[in-house]
């Protein structure tokens, strides 16, 4: 039960809309006369809400898809119920009613565009320009096979959203700490995530994994000489150095 309340609390976060929803639900339960609206909006919501707090139901859901229990709350039509109950409650005083409810919703809600994950788009791909520029720098020509490249972790999410011509020995699965079965298991990542990157240790691994390109963040210190390890700097793009690993050739596509 504790776990279910924790899921509910996480879902609600800092907002009071779920509380408003419960109030609206009680109000409609008392006042709603239209049978179809009662059934679909009110009574169905009540049953779903009760089911959500029923531990055996959570066990069943965990069996089907663990970690997504909060999605049961998606079935509660909160926006529809709150707005409908509000409008119904205003009655003829809809202007003042609207103003009051709108104000409550505005003041108690969280503005979505204030989210730290939302930024001004740099292009229509909605991928950082620097990723596009680095990928274009190492993009194989039409007669060449796909290339392998190692990127700093902040760029990993975006690379293959732009092009699948660039492959990576590890990707997002290495970055998500909650995915314990994957996280922090790749030997190249173990070096790349350090505060100082050891080029002497990295270079043999790049060869072992047939990696043709290495991208390093210039703000992360390195030890060892890239040139001595066969890494030739081909470009500097914003805060990143792009190296070509000359020890691994770029293969030509087989002619049909």
């Amino acid at each position: 039960m504790q776990e279910i309340f924790s899921v509910f609390q996480k879902y609600c976060g800092s907002g009071i809309y779920p509380v408003l929803f419960l109030i609206a639900l009680v109000y409609l339960l008392v006042t709603e006369k239209d049978r179809k609206i009662r059934i679909v909006l009110v009574e169905t919501s009540l049953v779903i809400a009760v089911l959500f707090f029923f531990p055996p139901f959570k066990k069943l859901m965990d069996y089907l898809d663990e970690g997504t229990y909060y999605r049961i709350l998606w079935l509660l039509p909160m926006t529809v119920v709150i707005a409908y109950a509000g409008v119904k409650l205003f009655g003829k005083h809809h202007r003042i009613g609207f103003a009051v409810l709108a104000l409550v919703l505005l003041l108690s809600g969280e503005y979505v565009y204030k989210s730290q994950h939302i930024t001004k788009a740099q292009n229509r791909y909605k991928i950082p320009n620097v990723v596009v520029a680095i990928c274009n720098e190492m993009m194989p020509s039409e007669e060449e096979e796909r290339v392998w490249a190692v990127f700093p972790e902040e760029l990993i999410y975006f690379v293959r959203q732009y092009t699948t011509e660039i492959q990576m020995p590890y990707g997002r699965e290495m970055l998500e700490q909650q995915w314990e079965w994957n996280w922090d298991t790749h030997p190249i990542y173990k070096i790349m995530r350090e505060d100082t990157i050891d080029i002497d240790a990295l270079a043999p691994l790049l060869m072992e994994y047939n990696v043709q390109y290495l991208v390093l963040n210039r703000n992360v210190p390195i030890v060892g000489d890239p040139a001595e390890n066969g890494l030739e700097k081909t470009a500097v793009i914003e805060a990143y150095d792009v190296y070509r690993n000359t020890a691994v050739e770029i293969f030509k596509k087989a002619v049909d």
Binding site: W74, L106, V112
Partner: protein, 360 residues
């Protein structure tokens, strides 16, 4: 540019409008509504894709070309059938083919008459509601929202478009892999690749820029249909309802889990479409079905269930659960088992899909 325009026209206008006509005789014989035509047609297009994509994906690893061809052929056929059925039904009712052809024209006149009869206050609230939707569309275009899941779903679309391979390449790395059936049965990423192929637009741009411009107004169209069932159409309460809904979407980011957060930060992902558009459409259809016995709405509920399965691995389960609970309550309240049976039959696609998920 020509490919973009033609592809857009076919996928987002021609197919949805013509396929939407398939359901109109069963929904509203006398007066076709362009909002219902488009919404039901769009869902039909998605459901048809899901029905084609699952077998193609299972049978053929390099199946993107055949998937695009089959989708266009079948959607083209159903579009022609939609137009044909609409014409024939109108003729049967004695209106004649000419009258049938002018039915859509009549929609413009209806809208004009409808607007003219609105009070100034109604106008004001509708303007506010429209402005709120336009604002959300603009922000979806102008802002970028980071979500780690894109490294999986958007890359699946890019892979299908750029390599023609359906779900047999690890999105994170590029290495070959077996079919990951749990994720693959929800074929929305392949549909986004299909849109990319049809329009010639990069799949990441389709997902991040193009689709929000379609899905945001489409979701509000579903809210409008729900609102129409709750209030009288010309009543000022309907636009007030729409404005309040917009406020709750824009200010609903109280946690990363809410429907509203998914709606405006992950608009292009199946989970978001499920949590918002699909569940809203099901809500609307339940209100319609419990109101009268028009078969078109029941058929559209089946279509919505197929679309739910297309969106996320648990989509079919969530949709069936919602419909099942509403059906059970309706059967008890109305003392009619037939309601439950009818709604349960609508969930057959969900059962098949869940069995596939468990067995494959």
């Amino acid at each position: 540019m020509i490919q973009k325009a033609i592809g857009f026209l076919v996928v987002f206008i021609l197919f949805p409008v013509c396929m939407g006509l398939l359901w109109m005789p069963g929904m509203n014989r006398k007066k076709y509504r362009i909002d219902q035509i488009y919404l039901s047609g769009f869902l039909t297009e998605l459901a048809v894709f899901q029905l084609i994509a699952v077998p193609v994906m299972i049978l053929k690893a390099h199946g993107m070309e055949i998937l695009v061809i089959l989708t266009n052929v079948i959607c083209g056929f159903l579009s022609a059938a939609g137009v044909g059925i609409a014409l024939v039904c109108r003729k049967k009712e004695g209106a004649g083919l000419k009258a049938a052809a002018t039915n859509l024209k009549g929609l413009g006149a209806d809208l004009k008459a409808g607007f003219a009869s609105l009070s100034w206050e109604c106008w004001l609230f509708w303007l506010l509601a429209g402005a709120a939707v336009l604002f959300q569309m603009y922000m979806s275009f102008d802002r970028a929202s980071f979500d780690g899941d894109d490294a999986y779903y958007v890359v699946q679309s890019v892979l299908a478009d750029q390599t023609g391979v359906l779900n047999r390449i690890k999105p994170y790395t590029g290495l070959s892999t077996d079919l990951d059936i749990r994720h693959a049965l929800a074929t929305l990423p392949l549909w986004e690749a299909y849109v990319a192929r049809m329009t010639g637009i990069h799949a990441a741009i389709v997902a991040h820029t193009l689709l929000p411009l379609i899905l945001i107004p489409l979701t509000y169209l579903a809210y409008f249909e729900v609102g129409r069932k709750l209030f009288e159409e010309k009543n000022v309460k309907l636009p007030i309802f729409m404005v309040l809904v917009s406020i709750m979407q824009i200010w609903g980011n109280s946690s990363i889990y809410t429907n509203a957060t998914f709606f405006l930060t992950r608009t292009w992902q199946g989970k978001s479409i499920m949590a918002n558009l699909v569940l809203l459409v099901i809500l609307w259809l339940l209100l319609e079905i419990l109101d009268d016995k028009k078969r078109g709405y029941v058929a559209l509920l089946v279509v919505s269930n197929i679309v739910a399965a297309m969106m996320t691995s648990m989509g079919a389960f969530l949709a069936a659960m919602f419909i099942g609970i509403a059906g059970l309550i309706a059967a008890v309240r109305q003392k009619k088992l037939s309601v439950l049976v009818k709604l349960a039959l609508c969930c057959i696609p969900n059962v098949i899909y869940l069995l596939m998920l468990l067995v494959l």
